[in-house]
Structure formats: structure tokens, C-alpha cells
């Protein structure tokens, strides 16, 4: 008896490296790896949930999606929305971080208030924006009109919908970028600044030749973090427009949700998800390369 116990304990001693992480690995496998693998499998099948079983169709779904106008519309909307919002968030985030990176009275209170949007629940915030952006009863048009300006269609207008959604995204997420950049700024060494000041550099030169090169890896890291969510932005757009008017704000991600859970076409929907996954992956690999080369410099 005691021999078996010691045998077990010896076995465990020798295989600690495998045993201890095992529960976590098994759980991760079940909830992350398996669904992704199943999704990739489904992408090569044709299957409407409930109607028979998945039928293997090879690359048919991927061939179909090349000629699907809504896929191209989705990519276009995704690039427009993400490009504009990420650029504004990084730009504004950096400027505001620079402004906060100095001593002034009440700076802590201002900073605490400033991060409110980023701390709020996305869907709750989106619901409020949806009402504020309503052209008939929304407060934004009320304000514009009380200033004697014409109202806008906001998210109800084909041309205005993406800029309006970008406005919400920028309002919500710029504080996050600011926080990351601010942490980066605070950790910069003081010596180069002293040297530059002795050499007589002005504020703009200091920013351009010292701050920006030193902060670049942090900026790219912030961009990567934000782009992971932004490229597959769902809750905010879905809550405010569901991709409308028509398909004017339907990103590829929203379209794949529509196909999968609106039309219950699991095969084609999975193929679209794979494409979204690849886009996010490629973008992040490129960004990571940029971050590493910026660090090396």
C-alpha cells in the first residue's frame, strides 16, 4: 500500500511540469482551442443550423465570399471605421497625455474624471449615444439647432454614420490610449531632456527629436491593444445601428454575425470569421514587427 502511494508521489514529483498546469491547459483547450478548431472546420462546410449535418465543400465558402458584395462592403467599412478611429485615438491620446504629463492644480481629479468614458459599460454607453444621435429627438441636434445651425442625420445618414460612430469610439477609448502613453511618458529618463535644454532646443524640437522616438514603442503597443478590439468592434456598432442605414455601417465582423446568427448559416458565417481573424492577425504581426524595430533603434 505504502509502496503504491510512494510510487504515485514519485510519479508526481517527476512530472510536476506537466501536472500542475494541466487543469488550466485542459480548460483553455476546451473553451479556446476546440471552438476555434471547430470554427475552422465549419468554414469548409455548408451547414444551416438544424437542416441536416455539415457537408464538406472545400474552399467553396471562400470562393463565394470573394464575389459577395457585402464582404467587400464590410472590409471597406472596417478599414474606414478602424483607420479613422485609431488615428484619432492615438493622435488625441498622445496630445492629451502630453498635456497631463506636468504638474497642475487638481490634475488628479481631472484625470480621474477623464477616464470615466473608458470605465463605463460599452452597451449602456452605446444605448445613450443612440438616443443622443437620433435626428428627431436627440440632444445633439437640439444643441445644433439652438445655436441656429442645421441638424445632422448622424447615424441615420449614409454619409454621416461612420464619422458618428467614430465620434463615439474616440470619446470612449481615447482615455485608454492616454493612460498608456502617460505611463510611458512618466518612465522616460530625464537626462536627454536636460541635455537638450542645455543645448537650447525648443519645446517642439524636444518633442520631435526626443519624446516621440522614445515613446514610439509605447504608442505602437497602445495601437496594438486598441486595434485588437477596434478591428472587431461589435457591441457599440450593433447597439447603435445594427449595421444600418442599409449596410452603411456593416463591418465584416457584423456581417459574419448576421450570417451566422441571423441567417443561421454556420458554414459561410464561419468562413467570414476566419477572414476577420486573418485580418486581425496580419495587422498585429505587422504592428509587432514595427514595435520591435522601434525598440531596437
Amino acid at each position: 500500500m505504502s509502496r503504491t502511494v510512494s510510487a504515485i508521489s514519485q510519479f508526481m514529483d517527476r512530472r510536476q511540469a506537466l501536472l500542475y498546469p494541466a487543469p488550466a491547459v485542459i480548460v483553455l483547450f476546451l473553451i479556446v482551442v476546440l471552438p476555434i478548431a471547430f470554427n475552422i472546420y465549419l468554414a469548409f462546410t455548408k451547414w444551416t443550423v438544424g437542416l441536416g449535418h455539415p457537408v464538406f465543400v472545400g474552399f467553396d465558402n471562400f470562393i463565394d465570399l470573394v464575389s459577395d458584395e457585402r464582404v467587400w462592403n464590410g472590409v471597406k467599412v472596417m478599414v474606414y471605421f478602424s483607420g479613422l478611429s485609431l488615428a484619432l485615438e492615438i493622435g488625441l491620446g498622445l496630445l492629451i497625455a502630453l498635456y497631463f504629463n506636468r504638474e497642475f492644480r487638481g490634475s488628479e481629479i481631472v484625470q480621474a474624471i477623464y477616464i470615466f468614458p473608458f470605465a463605463a459599460t460599452p452597451v449602456a454607453v452605446a444605448l445613450i449615444w443612440r438616443i443622443m444621435l437620433n435626428p428627431e429627438i436627440g440632444v445633439l441636434n437640439y444643441l445644433l439647432r439652438s445655436l441656429g445651425l442645421p441638424g445632422s442625420l448622424w447615424v441615420s445618414g449614409e454619409q454621416m454614420v461612420i464619422p458618428s460612430l467614430v465620434l463615439v469610439d474616440v470619446w470612449k477609448w481615447t482615455p485608454m490610449i492616454t493612460l498608456i502613453v502617460l505611463a510611458g511618458l512618466k518612465s522616460l529618463p530625464p537626462d536627454p531632456y536636460e541635455a537638450a535644454r542645455i543645448d537650447g532646443a525648443n519645446a517642439l524640437q524636444i518633442f520631435w527629436y526626443i519624446t516621440l522616438p522614445m515613446i514610439r514603442p509605447v504608442l505602437i503597443a497602445a495601437l496594438m491593444l486598441r486595434s485588437l478590439d477596434n478591428l472587431k468592434e461589435f457591441d457599440m456598432i450593433y447597439t447603435i445601428t445594427q449595421g444600418g442605414p442599409g449596410i452603411a455601417s456593416e463591418t465584416l465582423y457584423l456581417y459574419s454575425y448576421m450570417v451566422g446568427f441571423g441567417f443561421f448559416k454556420a458554414g459561410y458565417g464561419s468562413a467570414l470569421m476566419v477572414v476577420v481573424f486573418l485580418i486581425v492577425l496580419v495587422f498585429n504581426v505587422v504592428m509587432n514587427r514595427m514595435r520591435l524595430s522601434a525598440q531596437d533603434r
Binding site: L153, W154, G262
Partner: protein, 433 residues
């Protein structure tokens, strides 16, 4: 004379015994101890029936587990559970939307054998009392698969106070509808600028109201060959008329109006007319939520070139084909009880438009009815209604989505003919039957 009287008495007695024996044949306790599970949409009918379930449990000894979810979640959960094959015996369904898909998937139990079986169905349940158009709508391949619990159609609701004040006639034709909308559009009433009419404009969601215009203009979903008919002259006329009406005389941002936005514009007193589901009467007439309560008149859809053709739709209760026979029968007893005359009348009085003519025509309901024009016009619509309010395909949501794009483009003032043609081609490609 005495003889006649005694024959009459005898006949009466016979009839009474017959009726008694007919109802006595259903043993309500036959499935005592069985447990059935129903998945329900959060709907006024569910709100009405849920507190009464205990009565049924007492009558039968059957335990009813009822799970209720908001509509979007309900739809997702229902499909996923039916597909996974878990323990689910009955559920709510909109036959016009889901029946073909669910039928092909093998999730709908035909009810005919239960209805015919005197051991399972009381004569007093009287299937003929249900409006025929709804029973027809819940029938696939000649088999009835659901029993109506909520009957719907659409009506034109208008501000009868303003129509009286400006001496405007209720529009009877599409031409008059447009003229009336134009007349009211931009008028100042109580310091507020009115819009002529409000309608749903949001893609797929708009199709269920637009379809009445489709039929009234002589269009249809498919032609005799089963091909898409969206690009036919009548269909294009319907797209154009509907789009123009909303674009020219509707609220701003028409393409984003779902029923919630459209009805609230009307309830705010901003619109002179609205065309939407008749069940929204309960919203319009609720003085706590609506500024127009008591000022609303109701009419059937104005006549187009093909006449007035409203649609009828309904929620029904169905039984899962994959549930075991005993539980199916127990579920049928529940379904039968939930839709009997007494409960239908109770639902009707609680504001749920029932599927039984007897409930609509009852003295109790008539005494309580504050909008007799709504009742009369709803009944008129039920009689002439078209149950095919969705495309006759399995993949309804996808085809509705394709159709909705044309409605959006019509509201945006784009080339309707071109977009209808494109949609018809896409529909032919994607249609599954």
C-alpha cells in the same frame, strides 16, 4: 303538441348526454406526473397565461416548466435548443416566419391526430372557432402544426382629432393616402411641426409592413414559376410608393426607423398617421406613454391598383416533433387548455388579440371595447388578410434582408428599378425552398 314537446325534450336530453359524454371522454389526469417544458417569447400572451399555469397543473397533475426570454434571445435559444435536441416539448412560433425552416428541420409535430382523438381533445375546444386564415397560416404540406394564440394584422392609424379639425377624409386609396400625408406634412400643430406619416424604414424589419403595399400594388414575393418577383412592375411600384411616402412625408432618418421609433413618433404626436401592426393600439391608447391616447382612429390599408390587401400574422404554440409521445400528448393537453374558449376570452380581455372569433364577438369584450373602429377593421383585415407576409422560402431572414435593402434604397431616393433587379437576382440565387 305534447308529442312534439316530448320529442323536443328527448332530443335535448340526448344532446345533453352526448355533450356530457364527449367532454367526459378526455381524462385530464391521464398524464399525471409528467413534466413538460415550454420555451416562450416575452409576449403579452405569455404574461397572461403564466400566472394561470398552476390551475392547469392542478387540473391535470402535469408539471409545466415555462421559460420566458425577450424575443431576440428567445429566437436564438429556440433554434439552438431544438438543434441540440435537449428536453423541450413545446414552444411559441410565428408560423409565417419560421414554419418552413422548422418543418424541414423536423422540429414541428403535426397536431391533426391529437385534435381528432376524442380521448385527447374535448369537443368544446371547437377548432372551427379559430379564424380560418390563422389556421391556414399554421399549416404546412396540409398538416396543422400550431394553434394561434395571438392574431395580428396591420392598420392605418390616424389622428381623428386633426382629421376632424382640418376636415380631412380618411384615405381610402393609395393616391388619397399620399395626398393626406402631403397635406399634413409640415403643418404646425400646438407649436410643433408635424410629419405626414410614419412607417418602418429599417431594412428587413420594414418588409413586414411594406408587404401590404406589395400586395395592394399587385406585386408578390414570387411568380408562378417560383422565381423572385421583386423586379415585377407591381413590386417596383410598391417599393417606390413606400420609399417616397417615407422620404417625402415621414420623419427624418427614415432608414433607421424600426417599429419602436416609428410608433414613438406617432405617440409623441409628431405624425398624423402611422401604418403598423394593429396590436400597437395598446401603445397608442395608453395615456401614460402616449400623448395621442383617445385621439386615434383606425382604418384598413387604403386600396392600391390591386385593392386593399393587408397581411395577417400570428404567434402560435407548437409541439416539438422530437419529444417523446407521452410528453407530446401532455404538451397537447396544455396547448389545448391554454387556447380553450375561456382562456382565449381572458386573453382578449387582457388586451391580447385572441385567435378565436367567439372571444372577439363576446358580449364581455364588446362591453369593454373603447375602440370599436379598431375591432371592426381588425376583423375585416382578418377576413381578407394574406397569410404569406414573408417570402415562401426556408431562409426567410436572408431573403427579408435582401428585400430590405431595396426599401432602404427607395427611401434614400436611389434608382429603385436597378436595386430591385439586383435584389431579385440575389433572391433567385439564395432562395432555399
Amino acid at each position: 303538441m305534447r308529442r312534439i314537446a316530448s320529442v323536443a325534450l328527448l332530443t335535448l336530453l340526448c344532446a345533453a348526454t352526448l355533450a356530457a359524454s364527449a367532454s367526459a371522454q378526455v381524462n385530464w389526469k391521464q398524464f399525471q406526473g409528467t413534466e413538460v417544458r415550454f420555451l416562450m417569447n416575452k409576449h403579452p400572451f405569455t404574461t397572461f397565461i403564466e400566472p394561470k399555469v398552476a390551475e392547469f397543473e392542478k387540473l391535470t397533475g402535469i408539471k409545466v416548466m415555462m421559460e420566458v426570454f425577450p424575443e431576440d434571445q428567445f429566437r436564438n435559444k429556440r433554434t439552438i435548443e431544438l438543434n441540440a435536441g435537449g428536453k423541450l416539448d413545446g414552444y411559441m412560433i410565428m408560423p409565417g416566419q419560421d414554419e418552413l425552416y422548422f418543418w424541414k428541420a423536423g422540429w414541428l409535430q403535426p397536431l391533426g391526430d391529437f385534435i381528432k382523438d376524442p380521448k385527447l381533445t374535448e369537443a368544446a375546444w371547437d377548432p372551427k372557432d379559430f379564424f380560418a386564415s390563422f389556421t391556414k397560416a399554421a399549416t404546412v404540406d396540409g398538416k396543422q402544426i400550431g394553434v394561434v394564440i395571438n392574431s395580428e394584422t396591420s392598420l392605418l392609424a390616424y389622428r381623428k382629432d386633426l382629421f376632424g379639425q382640418f376636415k380631412v377624409k380618411v384615405p381610402a386609396t393609395m393616391k388619397e393616402l399620399e395626398e393626406t400625408a402631403k397635406f399634413f406634412h409640415g403643418k404646425e400643430v400646438d407649436g410643433k411641426k408635424m410629419v405626414g406619416i410614419t412607417l418602418r424604414g429599417k431594412g428587413a424589419a420594414a418588409t413586414s409592413q411594406w408587404v401590404d403595399f406589395l400586395y395592394s400594388f399587385g406585386g408578390s414575393w414570387t411568380n408562378a414559376q417560383g422565381k423572385s418577383n421583386l423586379a415585377a412592375a407591381g413590386s417596383i411600384a410598391a417599393f417606390k410608393f413606400y420609399g417616397d411616402l417615407l422620404k417625402n412625408y415621414g420623419p427624418e432618418g427614415g432608414t433607421m426607423l424600426h417599429w419602436a421609433e416609428s410608433t414613438s413618433a406617432f405617440m409623441e404626436g409628431k405624425a398624423a398617421m402611422i401604418y403598423d401592426a394593429n396590436v400597437f393600439k395598446s401603445l397608442y391608447e395608453n395615456p401614460k406613454e402616449s400623448k395621442v391616447a383617445g385621439k386615434v382612429g383606425y382604418a384598413i390599408i387604403p386600396a392600391g391598383p390591386a385593392g386593399s390587401v393587408p397581411h395577417v400574422s400570428n404567434w402560435s404554440l407548437s409541439i416539438n416533433k422530437n419529444s417523446p409521445p407521452d410528453r407530446q400528448k401532455a404538451a397537447w393537453l396544455f396547448l389545448q387548455w391554454a387556447t380553450n374558449k375561456e382562456n382565449s376570452l381572458g386573453a382578449m380581455l387582457a388586451g391580447v388579440p385572441a385567435g378565436r372569433a367567439s372571444a372577439w364577438n363576446s358580449a364581455e369584450y364588446k362591453a369593454k371595447d373603447a375602440q370599436p373602429d379598431w375591432t371592426a377593421n381588425s376583423l375585416k383585415s382578418f377576413e381578407m388578410g394574406q397569410p404569406q407576409w414573408n417570402p415562401p422560402v426556408i431562409n426567410v431572414p436572408e431573403i427579408r434582408d435582401i428585400t430590405g435593402q431595396v426599401i432602404v434604397e427607395a427611401i434614400q431616393g436611389k434608382d429603385v428599378e436597378a436595386s430591385a433587379k439586383k435584389a431579385a437576382e440575389l433572391m433567385d440565387k439564395k432562395m432555399e425552398r
